[in-house]
Symmetry: D2
Subunit: 473 residues, 4 copies
């Protein structure tokens, strides 16, 4: 895996990440806790992993590299990272092309208050403008990430203190961000004013812990304290004491797609269980759809829960229709031309005995480009399903996401300019059913989400960023 660094498009939309931080009174081997935390967040990023720890009062040691958490970190790396009071870590999402170690996090630098490390999940949509402004003032940037812009901006604003710098900088950021900042012996946790990205606070044996999702707190046996609030900056000291401050009035609009697909089902986000939201979607769909069929199944892994919800309400028996190869990873070799059309077979195989001669209801979490759905339906028919009714636990994805979820331009979305009927034909289903947005929101337990990808009702006013061209030139 060569990493010649080519010049990249400045800022992409494809940033999804997991962050984890911990602070303790005594110096401990905190890098190990971060390791387990990142491991639990691996589903949020398989491209790169990194850990930074403070030591000797004002110093920071770090290690980051391309690959899965357990490929990047071994006993040796963990042992080489000093015992510490504060540690943060980061995993980054794998997308083609822009993956190289220069873009890995945490970002560690020397600035106004000495050494600082920053881990960021999200997408600052006005980063190009901030970068332009900072370059105008003489700054330089060594990567193409908005996270480096964010880090430089926080430092630039930190004229009095790091906390004040975070405060002032965050006021200027437009977009999505959950942030962990390590500086001196303090750990700062921040969430954007809409709470677009999740960030939860916990504690374990007196240590304060932050993570993108509650499942990472579970992994190290930490207890949940509460979610970081939209617009909130929490400053934690080594003794476990902390202060809270708001850089903006919270306007809670968390990303609804976290429930649909991104988060792990055993996480609880902003008080709502991801698992239950998915189960309830299935239940509501069963009430709505009233499809005459013999069996219900789900596309593994995320839609299995919804399928069970559907089955429980409809009374139609739940079966396993598809088996997923659990060793599929990012370095998988592309099939040769002759096999390409069957590529889905390498990832998924069908339980012929379970579906043969059956009319099947198939639950999936969402349909983005539609290519996989088409292949799955074809696979099921070849294995004897007489009907395949596709039931989707979310509405039609019609708009791109500007806040870090890997969705393409409107043109590339199968639902970008099509209705359910047209999509149904394209993917070759017997019928196609979507969950209305209000029902989805209801299942996710909170009235006010960012639902931009479904209805263009983005958390942030994109008035000044109204065309992609403008945004990413």
């Amino acid at each position: 895996m060569k990493s010649i660094i080519l010049d990249e498009r400045q800022f992409g939309t494809h940033e999804e990440c997991g962050i984890f931080g911990i602070i303790s009174e005594e110096k401990q081997e905190l890098a190990r806790d971060v390791y387990y935390g990142l491991f639990a967040l691996q589903h949020r990023g398989q491209e790169s992993a990194g850990i930074a720890v403070s030591y000797d009062e004002d110093k920071v040691a770090y290690y980051k590299n391309m690959g899965l958490v357990n490929a990047v970190f071994h006993e040796e790396e963990l042992r080489l990272l000093p015992s510490t009071n504060v540690a943060i870590g980061h995993v980054r999402y794998s997308t083609m092309g822009s993956s190289n170690v220069v873009n890995a996090q945490p970002i560690v630098f020397y600035g106004r208050f000495g050494r600082m490390a920053v881990a960021h999940n999200g997408n600052i949509i006005n980063a190009p403008n901030i970068k332009k402004r900072m370059i105008y003032k003489g700054h330089i940037f060594q990567s193409s990430t908005d996270s480096e812009v964010l880090a430089a901006a926080i430092n630039d604003y930190s004229t009095e203190s790091v906390e004040q710098g975070i405060y002032d900088a965050c006021k200027n950021f437009v977009g999505a961000f959950a942030l962990l900042v390590l500086s001196g012996n303090k750990l700062y946790a921040v969430r954007d004013r809409n709470g677009l990205k999740p960030l939860i606070m916990g504690q374990k044996d007196g240590n304060i812990v932050f993570a993108s999702e509650s499942c990472a707190l579970d992994a190290i046996d930490a207890e949940v304290i509460r979610d970081v609030m939209p617009g909130e900056i929490i400053t934690v000291n080594t003794d476990g004491s902390y202060t809270s401050r708001y850089f903006a009035p919270p306007d809670k609009r968390p990303c609804i797609f976290e429930y649909v697909y991104l988060a792990r089902s055993d996480s609880v986000l902003d008080g709502t269980s991801v698992y239950e939201s998915r189960y309830n979607c299935g239940k509501i769909l069963a009430e709505m759809c009233n499809i005459d069929a013999d069996i219900v199944a789900g596309v593994p892994d995320s839609a299995l829960v919804s399928a069970r919800g559907y089955s429980d309400v409809s009374g139609i028996p739940y079966v396993d229709a598809l088996s997923k190869n659990r060793y599929i990873g990012r370095t998988f070799i592309q099939p040769s031309q002759s096999m390409r059309e069957n590529s889905v077979k390498i990832k998924l195989t069908a339980f012929r005995n379970n579906i043969q001669g059956k009319r099947l209801i198939l639950l999936d979490d969402s349909i983005v480009r539609g290519t996989t759905s088409k292949k799955i339906i074809s696979l099921l028919r070849k294995n004897g399903a007489t009907e395949v009714h596709m039931v989707v636990a979310s509405p039609i994805v019609k708009w791109p996401c500007y806040f870090g979820v890997d969705m393409d331009t409107k043109e590339q979305l199968i639902g970008g300019y099509r209705d359910a009927e047209e999509i149904c034909k394209l993917i070759g289903a017997d019928s196609l059913h979507y969950l209305p947005l209000e029902k989805l929101a209801e299942c996710c337990g909170c009235g006010n989400f960012c639902t931009g990808c479904f209805d263009a009702n983005y958390a942030v006013d994109l008035g000044n960023f109204h065309s992609e061209k403008l945004l990413f030139e």
Copy 2:
């Protein structure tokens, strides 16, 4: 991952592997098919992977290394392996200590009939005796595996032809083996006289294919022809023609543990669907147990199907109680002392909302050492389960396996010298229920299995190998 090669115990019981082979009329990039096949068999071995192909009539090129299939093979390695008429591959199970590249397969060597490659799944229990005899005759062995002994013996017996060598050698092997042999332009497939290890034959576009499990045939879109029969040697030519011959009268005693745990649920072994056998186990257990509880759940992944069978028959609702981190791999770092007791948390987390205040029936496929069961039950109780009734879809594991399944000595087996009641206490369950052996066999669709690990009724008469000491000195 340093690979200083230390001298190892000669032959271990811990060999479980996957094999795959393919032969075609025209020279093709068959290594790629083997790659996908091995990938589908990855659950049978995560320690090493290798592929050997014939070329230029009598030559063999190969590549093998430690690691997962997609870590060992990339585009470059596949491209460097020549186009070929015959290719075989192998994945090897990961056990501590004895893992190094010297033991990886296929084994490739020069012998009586030129260059030959062998891929072996199983355990030849009289390998130490054969080795001793061959060393007496002047042979040398460069690894500690029984597979090298098997390869050398086949060559030694091949005085007239490779097929005859295989025939005569196999008559002398005691134990379990599914074999693929590449020699010249022929591919040989062999299964021991008891059919202890699975081996299935398929075809795709005129190419003949062999694999440990049918799921690997599915992965490359090949159709099943039939299982290789116990005691059968199938010799395939490049034109797809093949001959069958028996080196011994078949005495079919396939390993029942393949259904319980080893095989992928979407495979069909000797005509019986693994999925269905597991589902049926759950159903029968429900009929037998009659436990008064609120919910039914399974330990992921293999016991989820049984749990569903239990639920369907008992009417007790099925829920997800445990979530499994799907990134757990072989290089995972051991938790620090303070976390060790909670190590199961890194792999499994509980869905608190689903189980809180509930009396839970938990299905698992088997209990070997019992340590994981104990931790899981404790985790479930901490998350609010008021009762945990453990239901196991197989009998008490009482005896070690001599044919390649990773089971320890009788002493290390929790059921080695204990009955269900004692085990129940040790793992901390409210009640514990095992599936009687005859019921398990019934679910697996075939009257006559090797059930040695459950009742010491091994396929092979261990008279001459009656003590472990004798076997492995």
Copy 3:
């Protein structure tokens, strides 16, 4: 070779590097020329190597890593770097502790004029002050090198053009620097006002080339045009035209240690052949010393030439006394305790037959810490030399270097507070003879060198930087 990045002392004195740049009218595979150039400059840095090339008008691709040039770059890396009009490269010196890829060069960044790459040889002694000032203004720094400060400062000053930025920044740099800057389709070459570090300009088939030493021009068959002058900025266009400008009146004070030890003997620096300067040192020493001995020898490799000069003038026969293992590299394992005192034997062995029973004159280029000299003399005596007279082709090293040569504090220098007689006793020689500074300067062909390490007459007024503490806090 793990590269956990620990926080480092800000700026060390131990920076010695080689740089190479080339610009052509047509897009060519210039990275290959840089590769060969860096290879010829390998003696100036074995720690890391890097190449940056411009492409698509305003983009820059680069690759850098730890290791020797031919360990970092293979066909694959060279092929992946795009064809280009401008390319620069860098090799960095190996010192313990501070070696990691974050400090490797070229430094590539986005700034006022888009993408820019900088390769630097030297030491900016007011870098801490500049850094402090820039941090005060809000800049951040991601490494601990003065080269990043230099790059950031050049960009900061580039308000109108890159050339003007280089001009203004260089006026503010105190210290030693030879610089290559790649920006857009231009290549800039700069040398500090004292010309402390060498930089030579050549041409090949119309392409303009710069290198730290002329041997790198020879390596790609380029012809020498001339040395870059102290204080000069040369701006080269792709058509081969160039303009020259001085940011300061030249005050030529090149580092005399380049001739003594640093440069390759087949280079010509500022018009003087390094080989001849060394040979002449030997001749003068012979005239001066008048030692009664049987044979003359040199410590390989750099002092062999001086020994020959000594022999030619004195008439005392030249012999090979020591053989050097040419595979010694940076990763060599330290000998165990019992062997440590003999560690010089691994690098050097003595030709017993040549020296046995002989009174020996041994030439060395310089004595810095004295430990190696002591071991060599002991080795020679053990192999039969009856007398060892040490003759050094430079004066006593008495002062540290602030401009990039790896010399320690005054305390660590054997000559820091000692005269020749005391040093002679410490290293165990029969007599010890140094070359007077004026003689050395004479041999190096130029009247006005930086000779700070010998007489504290540094090229730069260290008034404001008079204590190390101040300099490197």
Copy 4:
């Protein structure tokens, strides 16, 4: 560096290696001594390195890999090899194509007397016949080396003891071999009956040491005891006692090319200093040639000594004409087409000032294919030499070597079918002078060498192996 293992030509002529072994009374970290010994023998093989040590009475641990000694072994590998009484090591020569880890040594195997390790330098020319015979008996071979054949044959013959097996096997080997065998707690050292390959015995602190050359004894500070004699088997016990036995009457015919080129100049082979033999060659050439010229120079590194001898006798001043880049290694990238003709420049540059306008006598150790000589002469002329007289410190190489020196077929040798005059024209020299064979032998201090490459007077009667075709089919 991918190592797909292709099927290789069985046995090549291109085997040159270094071996080292040590045995001690107390268990020690002997792998470290082997490391330093191999390091001193690095010039005999840069392709692969390996070390095997005995432990726990009858066990052997080993590590081997592709690369230089200090790339293969680091602290970690040395630490992982157990403390031991006996250790052997091997470095292997780099030739294109056949380099992969399967061919690396020591060869370690289980045989009649348990675990054994073998390190071999040389070429068994009847290995194909032995191999054929052993395959006929049922043996298998996993590599294409004659060393595996040698190891298997020794074991096969070891019906009573290892020593007797070595004895009987060696009687049957035709060709060149210096051998170290580790078995149990004994170390065996063997040299073929002609003593074609060097092997020397030393001692250090009571430990007995063997090495291909005396320079490796120097490296660990061991004292020379004596050379192993042709046809001798020395068996050493851990207490330092040893017995000697001859498997054949010695017919001393050591390889003369060891003195010409292969050995390190600071080694003493069979009592003759390599350095002095080379120096004396230069002296004799000066007496013979009587060339009218201004200066004498040598091709670095091996011919510098001869040039000095020439200068000392002729009175013509010695100068350095060529500088060699000491970082050239095996992974060096081939120059692009445009640079290929100048490729010698990357390795060698000329000291223009030393040779301009001068008539030059250039000493080289030998001319094999002649391509490098041609380039060097052209380079010298371009740098101003008015005449270049080539003086070669050995005779015309006219015949291939069958015993392990990398020489090509007669057709590829420039002197295969040409006399000095024709060669002189081809390489573009003003005159060309070779050293007569009897003079060379005289300089090497021993009357009876294998001089097959010069006069077809091979140590071994090639009657039965008279055509290459027969030998290597």
